[in-house]
């Protein structure tokens, strides 16, 4: 297949722009998307045996502008992936992407971050209790107002005087169950929101 430098240049410029806008998708997948579309453009532009600049222009125009194309890939892919994978990291990635263009996405991301944060804290405390038996756990510490305030302690440093270890060794099973439960619950709720969002946007742009 012969191609003039001019045609090659146009194709490279288009895919350079597309690639730059596919941030958030794994490199390997970006490469595959670009390779597939490139082969599509060459196939289309070479309908009459040879790749012409005009043919390339027409094929690229038919794909639409790189920005819109990239946004379809990002939204479609990341959200579908979040729903399928159920992995907190993948879900957070998708939510970051969603939050970047939608207020609803921002709040779902915020809620998920809080949910995951507390889940991880519970699990961490449970895991660190055996290592720091006398200092890790859920502690009631005297506060300035005379009340007690609850505090998760990972066991590094010393406990302030007057503190009481509320759960003792129970923090290990309770921390694990509550922590894992929170992570799972957060995941389910986030995926539910993503699903609702996907349904609502079957076609906002024509």
């Amino acid at each position: 297949m012969t191609m003039s430098g001019d045609s090659q240049q146009r194709i490279d410029a288009y895919f350079g722009q597309l690639r730059a806008r596919l941030r958030g998708i794994k490199d390997e997948e970006v490469r595959e998307i670009v390779e597939e579309l490139r082969s599509h453009v060459v196939d289309k532009a070479s309908a009459f045996g040879e790749v012409t600049p005009a043919g390339v222009d027409a094929a690229l125009a038919a794909l639409g502008n790189p920005e819109e194309l990239a946004s379809q890939y990002l939204t479609d892919n990341l959200l579908a992936r979040a729903v399928v994978s159920q992995s907190p990291l993948q879900i957070l990635r998708s939510l970051f992407r969603w939050a970047s263009f939608s207020v609803a996405g921002f709040f779902v991301l915020l809620g998920s971050l809080i949910g995951y944060f507390f889940g991880v804290v519970f699990i961490l405390v449970a895991l660190l209790k055996p290592l720091h038996p006398h200092t890790a756990g859920l502690w009631a510490l005297p506060s300035s107002s005379g009340d007690f305030e609850m505090s998760f302690r990972l066991g590094f440093g010393v406990v302030p005087p007057g503190g009481r270890d509320v759960l003792g060794w129970w923090i290990v099973p309770i921390g694990m169950v509550v922590g894992c439960g929170l992570v799972m619950l957060t995941t389910h709720i986030a995926v539910w929101f993503v699903r609702q969002y996907r349904k609502s946007r079957v076609t906002p742009q024509g």
């Binding site: 597939e36 490139r38 082969s39 194309l69 076609t203």
Partner: protein, 126 residues
Amino acid sequence: MHMKERDARDQETGDKWEVQLRKGCLELAILAALWDGRRYGLEILRRLESDSDLIVSEGTVYPLLSRLKTLGLVRSEWVESDAGHPRKYYALTPAGKRRALEMTRIWARFSSSMGKLLAPLAKETR
């Protein structure tokens, strides 16, 4: 002036409805285009153009294929071609076949009941 505005509005809502209708059918159309064997993107597009009334934009079909793959309804493989560059072929997975059949059932039921409802109107437009 007033009439013109209303015509324009009717025209626009009509167009939007048609766009939504077509887009809603696209997933099923793609699965159907893969029913009898693997195809690459451009083949799928040509199949849709020739065998269906769907005017599909290429910028919609490729991201959709990628989503169908993520959902496990199609799988893909790269195959060397005579054209000198490899092409990405898509094929239905067992889950994709099940989904296509299920969607076809829903489609058939829906379109036959809509057909009944629309029969008197269809006479008018003939």
